[in-house]
């Protein structure tokens, strides 16, 4: 590896280490109920699912809308796996059903199992569905996610899924401990570590020989096939891997929320993720991450005042009523889609050179206005 490349890698590692350190410091200084933590955790979880969707939509060129379905699978698997047996046997959660799962696992195994279950279903669904193209694939995967949501609320499956009722008291973020000890794991750091590892794996995949094969399929299927790339096998691979990480992020979402209910994983959720991918730039990993933090911060935090009667110091309880936030939010999204149709990052990645250029650009503009 040449020197410039190595320096570049070292700089990236330092930047990432700084972020993780900052989170650790924040966790010990701020109150745990601070809204910042909600934004960071949910933003990180959405980053992972957005990146996994980007792997499929942006890098392999498969327009799939099944993300919510795979998150649902992940969330339920995690909740059922990590719920202690004593809770399963009691009436607290499984009120109307006898739970048939007689074991429980730690959070780590729960996360992996969540990914594997989602990946297994993706494998089965992929066999027929991946022979479809573009819009048809989107419709089929969307339909699959909706069917899954209905099936999980079916009372015949009640002994497994608790029907349409909530699942809770599993290993949520407050109950996760450091391995082999009882010391609680700093929750935000936990989310960031899991998401960080997953995104790192996806980045490594995209920059490998397989990643290039995926991009080749996106660019030109006929040419890719003529270069010896088996279309079906590589599409299936991308679909399964993407779903694995969607499953993991579903599990993290379950841990973040303290409760899981199938009702929540509507197609609206997939659209939210799609929106994040589009805003961030289709084919850009860092774009997806930035967009997901921005999106979550806007919808959960910065625009909250619009619903509460007071925004940017303006008191207008008649205007800033519940629901106004959604209106403003929609307008912002429309502006982004209309004027930044390639998203924040296009298909480029964030780099120090780009940031330098951006800062310089701002400086220059100010200079002119003087």
């Amino acid at each position: 590896m040449d020197r410039a490349k190595r320096n570049h890698l070292i700089r990236i590692f330092i930047a990432i280490a700084v972020v993780y350190l900052a989170i650790l410091v924040l966790e010990f200084t701020l109150r745990p109920t601070n809204i910042l933590f909600t934004v960071l955790r949910k933003g990180a979880i959405y980053s992972l699912v957005a990146v996994s969707m980007n792997l499929l939509n942006g890098f392999t060129g498969l327009f799939s809308l099944g993300q919510a379905g795979f998150m649902l699978l992940g969330a339920y698997t995690y909740a059922i796996f990590t719920m202690p047996v004593s809770v399963k046997e009691s009436e607290r959660v499984y009120k109307y059903y006898e739970c048939i799962v007689g074991f429980d696992t730690g959070a780590f195994i729960g996360l992996i199992a969540a990914g594997l279950v989602a990946a297994f279903f993706a494998f089965l669904i992929g066999l027929p569905v991946l022979r479809l193209k573009s819009d048809y694939l989107a419709i089929a995967t969307l339909g699959f996610a909706e069917i899954l949501r209905a099936i999980f609320q079916w009372d015949v499956l009640g002994p497994l899924t608790n029907g349409a009722n909530l699942l809770r008291e599993y290993k949520d973020l407050t109950r996760i401990t450091l391995p082999f000890t009882d010391i609680p794991f700093p929750p935000t750091l936990f989310v960031f570590i899991v998401v960080g590892i997953c995104i790192l794996l996806i980045v490594l995949l995209i920059n490998s020989s397989y990643g290039r094969a995926f991009k080749a399929i996106r660019d030109d299927e006929t040419a890719a096939e003529a270069m010896g790339i088996n279309l079906f096998r590589h599409k299936e691979l991308s679909f399964v891997i993407s779903s694995f990480f969607a499953g993991v992020s579903g599990a993290l979402l379950a841990a973040f929320q303290y409760t899981v209910q199938a009702q929540q994983f509507k197609s609206m959720m997939t659209y939210e993720i799609l929106l994040i991918v589009v805003i961030g730039g289709i084919g850009s990993i860092s774009g997806s991450c930035i967009a997901s933090f921005l999106y979550i911060a806007l919808s959960e935090w910065w625009l909250r005042g619009l619903d509460m009667g007071r925004f940017l110091g303006i008191d207008a309880p008649d205007l800033f009523r519940s629901g106004f936030r959604r209106l403003v939010f929609s307008v912002i999204i429309m502006i982004i889609v209309l004027f930044f149709s390639k998203g924040i990052m296009g298909d480029k990645e964030l780099s120090f050179e780009r940031m330098k250029g951006f800062v310089k650009g701002i400086g220059r503009k100010k200079g002119v206005s003087k």
């Binding site: 490998s208 290039r212 080749a216 096939e225 003529a226 270069m227 790339i229 088996n230 891997i241």
Partner: protein, 281 residues
């Protein structure tokens, strides 16, 4: 001379249109063979049959002495089949592999309208084509356990670019290259799959006489260097007559002539096909 590629009674029928009719031809090892014919004669269709893009309606294609593609009219095609020899292969097993399996056997192709990977650089285009020969699986690729293989792939790709004179454009976007170089890159990319048989679909399309001449030298050169057999479709007669060992002429899907360049040039049916037949007034 051993036959590397052999087509027997290959017919390709789309609905009622017989695009290739009972085509039989062979390409010997180390030959440069050209397939010519007026527009719409079925040349590219024949190529698409060989590379697995289309399933021929009837006939056998064998590579290196082994049948790789075989079909006979079945189902609806049985009723509407308008070609010949429909019963000849009826008892044999149907083989129809996908294009990537054909490539794995050692047959690589280029396209009439250049099909490079648009979002990739010149280097990545060549590297992507090496994926087919890679032994790594997805886990070892992600965890970088097979970094040695990746490294040797990168070195091979670089070497290939150097040999093709494209190294100075290594990190340029493939589609930003001038037209002639894009053609050359497409050939380089096909070579990266390590083929024995190279199929070139109109490599000189859109080139001026100067570029065409360079191309002809280039094809000869890669043939020697990589020990290739070449089958090409071409319209530029200077190129075809200059480098081909043998020529097949197609018209309306059927073979009308074959032979050395001299024989073909003086064949009355070929002249008629290209220039039309004079009618008595």
């Amino acid at each position: 001379m051993k036959d590397l590629l052999r087509l027997e009674n290959v017919t390709m029928q789309f609905g009622g249109v017989v695009a290739v009719n009972n085509l039989s031809m062979h390409v010997g090892e180390g030959e440069i063979v050209a397939l010519i014919g007026p527009n719409g004669a079925g040349k590219t269709t024949a190529f698409n049959c060989i590379t697995g893009v289309y399933e021929p309606s009837n006939g056998v294609i064998s590579y290196d002495g082994k049948a790789i593609i075989r079909n006979h009219p079945t189902g609806r095609m049985r009723k509407i089949y308008a070609g010949q020899e429909s019963g000849k292969y009826a008892d044999e097993k149907i083989l129809n592999p996908t294009p990537d399996e054909i490539t794995k056997l050692g047959i690589a192709r280029t396209f009439q309208n250049i099909r490079l990977f648009r979002s990739m650089t010149v280097f990545e285009n060549v590297l992507t084509a090496m994926h087919v020969r890679a032994k790594e699986n997805v886990f070892s690729a992600v965890l970088r356990l097979s970094w040695r293989e990746e490294k040797s792939m990168a070195e091979d790709a670089e070497k290939l670019l150097e040999e093709q004179g494209l190294l100075s454009h290594r990190d340029d976007l493939a589609t930003s290259l001038p037209y002639g170089l894009q053609r050359r890159l497409e050939i380089a990319r096909a070579l990266a799959t390590r083929p024995h048989l190279l199929l070139l679909d109109e490599p000189a399309a859109g080139m001026n006489p100067q570029e065409t001449q360079e191309l002809s030298a280039f094809i000869r050169q890669i043939k020697e260097r990589y020990d290739l057999t070449v089958l090409m479709i071409e319209h530029h007669m200077d190129l075809v007559m200059g480098i081909s060992d043998r020529i097949y002429v197609l018209d309306f899907g059927s073979l009308i002539a074959e032979g050395t360049p001299d024989e073909v040039q003086n064949n009355q049916r070929v002249i008629d096909a290209y220039l039309g037949v004079a009618e008595d007034v």
